[in-house]
Symmetry: C2
Amino acid sequence: MKLLIFEGIDGAGKTTIAKKLYEYLLNQGIPTTFYKEPHHDIPPNSSPFTQMLFFTASRSWLFENHIKPDLQQGKVVILDRSFISTLAYQCLLGGVDLTLTLELNKKILDDIKFYVFYLDLSPEIAYQRKPELDLETLEKLRNAYLQLLKGKAYIINASNELDKVFNSVKLIADEIVRASL
Amino acid sequence: MKLLIFEGIDGAGKTTIAKKLYEYLLNQGIPTTFYKEPHHDIPPNSSPFTQMLFFTASRSWLFENHIKPDLQQGKVVILDRSFISTLAYQCLLGGVDLTLTLELNKKILDDIKFYVFYLDLSPEIAYQRKPELDLETLEKLRNAYLQLLKGKAYIINASNELDKVFNSVKLIADEIVRASL
């Protein structure tokens, strides 16, 4: 039962690092699967509340049909974004009821133990990497993430170069995965 | 602000009657729109909880993008199934938390006044009309609907022939729509 969730603001390198870890673990002979949220398309012109519902519905489906069966088969599951993104984007930034959203998502996560890797990138560097993003929103998002994850996640400095970031993640992941054997 | 919702067990004739009323009102020169729930596809292999989330998400989108704007423009909106279906199927039959589902759906309906037409068909006749249905489930569904709608809906005897059923609906709808002018 090893669920590793990658979170971070846009541009932090979540997908790159999560996929690198996925390939690394497979190469080590460890049965591993990789998923990216949302698993279904979210219709355009959705308010934050409607987005929260669609993201949560899609997550519920993904957990039922893939993540829980994988975990039960003893696989390591790597997840690129999950409920913490919904809490940060739709609740803390979008104004959707946090308690209600947590209640729904707790029903999905159930008693699954999970480990969160927060790739912490400074909003300024994210903005340099992707100038189409809005700096003020990135700052609010980072604050939202840190508020939600304080003491509950591995905070990885994602401003470093890729190899260094991956190495930090790998060291922690190795330990988590080994502990399950 | 006239939202008319049609509910009933499978085979009760909801879509036929709702569309007939839609055409009748249009012919009377009354601006009317017709929608059917769910507005989006619900992925197969969804548990009742996941179904509830997808149905509610799709409803939230439909209300934001179509139903609320239509009502604000003074149109009559006819809706083939809505949140009462979710309460009956997913909650009372499927075991999903009714209070939580109501809380989500109240956020969608907001302060919109709505009128429910429950097309009441005996489970035996539904079963004769559609033998692929399960009689026991139909009985449970009818009980669920009557429990949810007691004193809150126009109960229409849908075992009668189509013209008679439509006439009952038309008389009530005429009164509701006239009251708004």
